[in-house]
């Protein structure tokens, strides 16, 4: 090979380290699995002939954990043969058993959430990778490479790595281990086509701008209001009969950061559900219900031990030269349920304080400061945070709703299980579509309504300057936004604004009431 030839063309590729969407709900996985089985018969012939490029520039193999969405079989018809579905969990796990005797310590696949399973993979992108950022969800088609040769040679070389060779010492054993994991464990995918995803709900068309999906949306919008009532009823039952809390929960579940203005994220709606019973399975069941409704979620148990022992923020490990993931590295629109009812008295150490600060930053600014030890870097995120607590949460929140149970079921476990059983799977699927779809709708406020809102605010301030602040206006506008969207309306109407105000008043009255109760107790 003549490296100096003028006809030699050099090109680059970028390797991304991808993991399945953290916290992906079981129903999403199942749905994709059934779709892929129904439509595609996987072909096992893969063609390594694509290595035609004589000279590839590997970008230093920096780990770049973008969340990877598994193969979605929507448009696979164009790519025959080489498009092999990547959802091959069985193979990956079999490979794991094979390789584990060779691997001295088990390889850490660097999942953000503890206890996650599923294949991680190295995705090699040959063009237009600049648009892929950390934490994006991607869908990739490509050539799967699980050549066992890669791992064997790698293992041998690791053992023979001579200390005399000066070049080898730069890449520590640790780094090599992490960057060239056995192919059976972390398969390589050479990308032919990759695209970013708006959402990961399998029940929705992948791209909402297409003509076909528009009809889907409009037909769905037709039956929106009975559906909303149904969902409200379902959630009211789940929240032991509290319809106001259920209303706010819907608003929370369809909230999303739709814009950022300098430091200010617009559209975040963190709800603090206070008044949850302590040490009961109630919060766990609430999470189970949310899990059934949203495509990705995680329940963070806020115990002293949890706070002190794990690092929530991703940090760069310079010996292994990779970003070690943390709980807060989540894809957009993941529901994070923080359970504060589990918090006991105790001492938070430095890590614990950092974690609490990180949670606070996440909620207030929707950003996570990744730790690069020499400096921190800010990564914007879009995570729906729901805090369940007994009293007011120690974390900041946009709005606190105090739970007022109407029914006290004798056996919570049984009550919740029967509730989930009672709802039809088709209805559950509609709920899922509802929550994912409404989040993606556009929304506007007319000048007329704006005027009215402004007048209203001035009036409110005049009557009650003590308790109405700019924050209240912000919040009420948000409530009005999500209220309109939840009813399928994409503009704010006067009625919705009044309804939002009414909801806020109800919520505040409850808090006031609660304060009085607590005051009496003291």
């Amino acid at each position: 090979m003549d490296l100096n030839s003028s006809q030699m063309v050099t090109s680059e590729r970028q390797t991304f380290y991808c993991v399945p969407v953290p916290g992906e709900s079981a129903w999403v996985k199942e749905a994709y699995l059934s779709v892929s089985q129904a439509r595609v018969s996987p072909s096992t012939s893969y063609t390594p002939s694509r290595h035609k490029r004589s000279y590839e520039e590997d970008e230093d193999m920096e780990l770049h954990p973008s969340k990877q969405k598994e193969q979605h079989m929507g448009n696979i018809d164009d790519i025959h043969g080489c498009g092999e579905p990547k959802r091959l969990e069985t193979e990956a796990s079999a490979g794991h058993q094979l390789i584990s005797p060779n691997c001295s310590p088990p390889l850490d696949l660097n999942f953000p959430l503890p206890g996650e399973k599923g294949p991680a993979c190295l995705v090699k992108v040959y063009e237009r990778w600049d648009s892929f950022k950390v934490n994006d969800t991607l869908e990739v088609y490509g050539i799967l490479s699980v050549d066992p040769v890669l791992s064997i040679v790698n293992n041998e070389e690791r053992e023979n790595a001579s200390p005399l060779n000066p070049m080898e010492c730069m890449d520590t054993v640790e780094e090599q281990r992490v960057h060239s994991p056995p192919a059976s464990l972390v398969p390589r995918i050479h990308v032919i086509l990759a695209q970013k995803l708006q959402h990961i709900n399998p029940l929705l068309p992948a791209c909402l701008n297409e003509e076909e999906s528009k009809s889907f949306v409009s037909s769905f919008m037709m039956e929106l209001s009975p559906l909303r009532a149904e969902l409200l009823g379902f959630l009211t039952h789940a929240l032991v009969g509290d319809s106001l809390a259920a209303e706010y929960l819907i608003l929370h579940l369809i909230s999303t950061v739709y814009a950022r203005r300098d430091v200010l994220p617009l559209g975040k709606f963190t709800v603090n559900l206070s008044g949850c019973p302590r040490n009961s399975i109630f919060t766990e069941h609430i999470y189970r219900i949310i899990q059934q409704l949203v495509p990705a979620s995680y329940r963070l148990q806020m115990t002293i031990e949890n706070m002190n022992c794990s690092r929530f923020i991703p940090h760069k490990d310079y010996t292994a030269n990779r970003l070690v993931s943390g709980v807060l590295q989540l894809a957009s629109n993941t529901s994070l349920v923080i359970d504060e009812t589990l918090l006991e008295q105790g001492q938070l150490d430095a890590t614990g304080v950092h974690n609490v600060t990180a949670l606070g930053n996440l909620i207030t600014w929707q950003k996570v400061d990744y730790d690069f030890s020499y400096h921190q870097m800010e990564f914007p995120c879009n995570i729906n945070v729901l805090i369940t607590s007994e009293g007011r949460s120690l974390l900041p929140s946009d709005c606190q709703v105090h739970l007022q149970p109407q029914i006290i079921p004798p056996n919570m476990e049984e009550y919740m299980n029967s509730l989930l059983k009672a709802v039809l799977p088709s209805m559950l699927n509609k709920f899922r579509i509802y929550l994912s779809l409404l989040r993606l709708l556009d929304y506007s406020i007319s000048d007329e309504v704006t005027k009215a809102v402004e007048e209203d605010f001035v009036e409110m301030r005049k009557n009650d300057p003590e308790s109405i602040t700019a924050d209240d206006l912000h919040r009420t506008l948000l409530v009005a936004r999500f209220l309109s969207l939840s009813a399928g309306q994409t503009t704010l109407s006067r009625e919705r604004w009044l309804r939002a105000k009414q909801l806020e008043a109800l919520r505040k009255a409850r808090l006031q009431q609660q304060k009085c109760v607590n005051g009496n107790e003291l």
Binding site: E57, N135, E168, T450, F457, E466
Partner: protein
């Protein structure tokens, strides 16, 4: 044709090295010829070829060097090697074993040539073996430093300059350049130049004697006769300001040789010039091309701050901003404009924003007669909940080039000051700086100041007046610098400001602490129809259009705002403004004053304090003369402050207008 085209650049290079001259104090100086002399005398090892100087002689050559740096490095080295004997002015004393070896070899070669003996190609001395100098290029100053992510395949073989932060360095190790073997049968020496990180040692003697006799001579490596150079590898990572939002910083490995080793430590900010080359890996790794630079030249650490600092604005960025600043007219409302550009998403609070601007710009420390007058101002924002105090703090935290954001409640074990911690790995005691130390020469934003622990509050006393932190813990006695401006936010004692009670009761901070704040803002949330309406309009606009309402004037970009603490001109300007606007407590001792300052104060007074805008020229002069200054002094003061852009004098010199 081929030999000609090769020799031409070689000739150019030789000519440059010998003939490049510049005008010095003692007539013409030949910097490279001088250096060649010291190289020949073994007084100097590294020769840096400044491509700027090459460009003066031959711009084409510079382009060629940048395009194909490795080849030209060899050409330059060959040229130097050829020229060295001419520049030897006296006998050189051998410094080490290798020098003795080289001398012997040269002598042998001389003798061998006399005898007409022919050498096999592997028995000839490789030029690398006889060279004791190292040659490096200094990148032309006009070329822009690359961001690591822009160093791509098209840069291969080219001279590139990259900036970044060093994250890891290896030990300095010897790397073999020429392996020397001797044969156990015929005694002939064999040389093997090595250009890759790994090599296959020779085993059989290739000399003519052994070959013809078939004696099967074995070669043995002679470590003393081989040539090694120092070798080190660095990993560098992009600065945080070079990374697009949402991307991870990339890194690059750099191979450093010879004199360039041991110049950088992890955490240093460096700019490195090198040749971007693919590196062949042995075995399976051959597939994975890893990048490595050569002839790297780390510059001195750009900033010698604590490791946890944020790097300063990139130099290129700084220049751009200065340019923009130059274009931004020094209009009368420049100060308003600057202030309004702080946290534009927060409505109103113009005065508070002006104060924050002053805090950002800071002043100059003065030390008259050993007394310390700090240049920073400390501000406390006390206000009702919901007046966007935290947002202001957060904005300042993002805007200031060096800042720390902390809350009174949530400060960790290290807390605000400093802590002595035992390193879990080594067991050594280490000093770890808290927020105030990390914000040295910057801004420390403390939210929820009222909820701070008593112990932290006492520590803050020292910081706010002495600008140092003394700690005496676990046998470590140290005084750390904490020259930071403190921006605190606190809620009033009763949650809201209670107009029925006195100011002291509402504030409820210890007097000693309160007196250390130069400015205390009480932000009260009072209903006021017009204000409320404007506030509502602001908020609804943001919700309606997802952006800021249009402003009376173009807001300045955050990047443009940022480097101003470094710009000396504005430094002084706003310092004076600070004096004019709202320095609420004056130092209890007389400040030594210059005539110009007194004149400024007098004119300021004449203009009617902070509010006035302009003064009649004649009136001002009259006032100053009556105070005992000469008109010349007045004129000088006028020019000085006009230069600082504090005021402007109109063409006819009849009016002084404050900016």
């Amino acid at each position: 044709g081929l030999t000609l085209s090769r020799s031409r650049p070689a000739e150019k290079v030789k000519r440059f090295l010998q003939e490049f001259c510049r005008d010095g104090e003692l007539g013409k100086e030949f910097p490279y010829r001088d250096q060649l002399v010291s190289l020949a005398h073994r007084e100097q090892v590294a020769l840096y070829v400044d491509l700027d100087e090459v460009a003066e002689e031959d711009p084409e050559l510079v382009d060629a060097v940048c395009e194909n740096a490795k080849r030209y490095a060899r050409l330059f080295a060959d040229a130097v090697h050829e020229l060295l004997p001419q520049h030897k002015e006296r006998e050189v004393v051998n410094k080490d074993v290798l020098d003795v070896y080289i001398e012997h070899r040269l002598m042998l070669e001389q003798r061998g040539r006399d005898a007409g003996e022919t050498h096999g190609p592997q028995n000839q001395y490789p030029p690398e073996l006889l060279r004791r100098f190292e040659l490096y290029f200094k990148a032309p100053s006009a070329s822009k430093a690359h961001v690591i992510r822009d160093v791509k395949a098209d840069c291969i073989g080219k001279l590139v300059t990259v900036r970044g932060i060093v994250t890891r360095v290896t030990e300095v190790k010897p790397m073999m350049v020429v392996a020397t073997y001797s044969c156990d049968q015929c005694g002939a020496e064999t040389y093997q130049p090595i250009q890759s990180p790994t090599f296959m040692p020779l085993i059989m003697c290739p000399s003519q004697e052994c070959q013809t006799n078939r004696s099967g001579g074995r070669l043995y490596l002679q470590s003393r006769g081989s040539k090694f150079i120092k070798f080190q590898e660095l990993k560098m990572q992009e600065h945080s300001d070079q990374v697009p939002v949402g991307h991870l910083p990339r890194s690059i490995s750099v191979a450093v040789h010879g004199e360039n080793t041991r110049l950088a430590q992890p955490g240093d900010h460096v700019s490195i010039t090198g040749v971007f080359l693919p590196l062949l890996r042995a075995g399976f790794r051959q597939i994975a091309q890893v990048r490595a630079g050569r002839g790297a030249r780390p510059t001195a650490p750009a900033e010698s701050w604590l490791p946890a600092d944020s790097p300063g604005e990139s130099r290129a960025g700084g220049e751009l901003c200065r340019l923009q600043l130059g274009q931004t007219p020094w209009s009368e409302d420049f100060y308003d404009k600057l202030a309004a550009s702080i946290a534009p998403e927060i409505y109103g609070h113009e005065d508070v924003k002006k104060a924050l601007l002053l805090l950002l710009v800071g002043g100059v420390d003065r030390n008259p007669r050993g007394m310390k007058i700090r240049g920073n101002i400390n501000i406390c924002l006390m206000g009702d909940p919901g007046v966007a105090k935290s947002q202001l703090l957060s904005y300042i935290d993002r805007l200031a080039p060096r800042s720390q954001y902390t809350t009174g409640r949530g400060s960790s074990g290290v807390g605000l000051t400093a802590a002595v911690l035992r390193d879990p790995l080594t067991g050594e005691l280490a000093l770890e700086g808290g927020a105030l130390v990390l914000a040295d020469q910057g801004v420390c934003c403390i939210d929820e100041f009222d909820k701070m622990l008593e112990s932290d509050r006492t520590a803050i006393h020292e910081v706010m007046e002495q600008q140092t932190i003394s700690i005496a813990k676990a046998g470590v006695l140290a005084t750390l610098n904490a020259r930071c401006a403190i921006l605190a936010a606190a809620n009033p004692a009763y949650g809201r400001y209670n107009p029925k009670r006195s100011l002291e009761q509402n504030v409820q901070l210890p007097a000693a602490l309160l007196s250390r704040f130069d400015l205390l803002w009480l932000i009260q949330d009072r209903p006021d129809r017009d204000n409320d309406l404007r506030l509502a309009q602001h908020i609804t606009y943001v919700h309606q259009h997802s952006r800021q309402p249009p402003c009376a004037f173009q807001q300045l970009d955050m990047k443009l705002m940022r480097p101003q603490r470094a710009a000396d001109v504005i430094f002084a300007t706003v310092r004076e403004l600070a004096g004019g606007v709202a320095l609420t407590h004056s130092p209890p001792f007389p400040r030594p004053q210059r005539a110009a300052d007194v004149i400024f104060a007098a004119v300021r007074e004449l203009a009617g304090g902070a509010g006035g805008r302009s003064v009649r020229y004649a009136e001002a002069e009259q006032r100053c003369v009556s105070k005992g200054f000469t008109p010349a002094q007045f004129q000088a003061a006028l020019d000085e402050y006009e230069e600082l852009n504090v005021w402007q004098v109109n063409q006819a010199r009849t009016r002084i207008t404050f900016v």
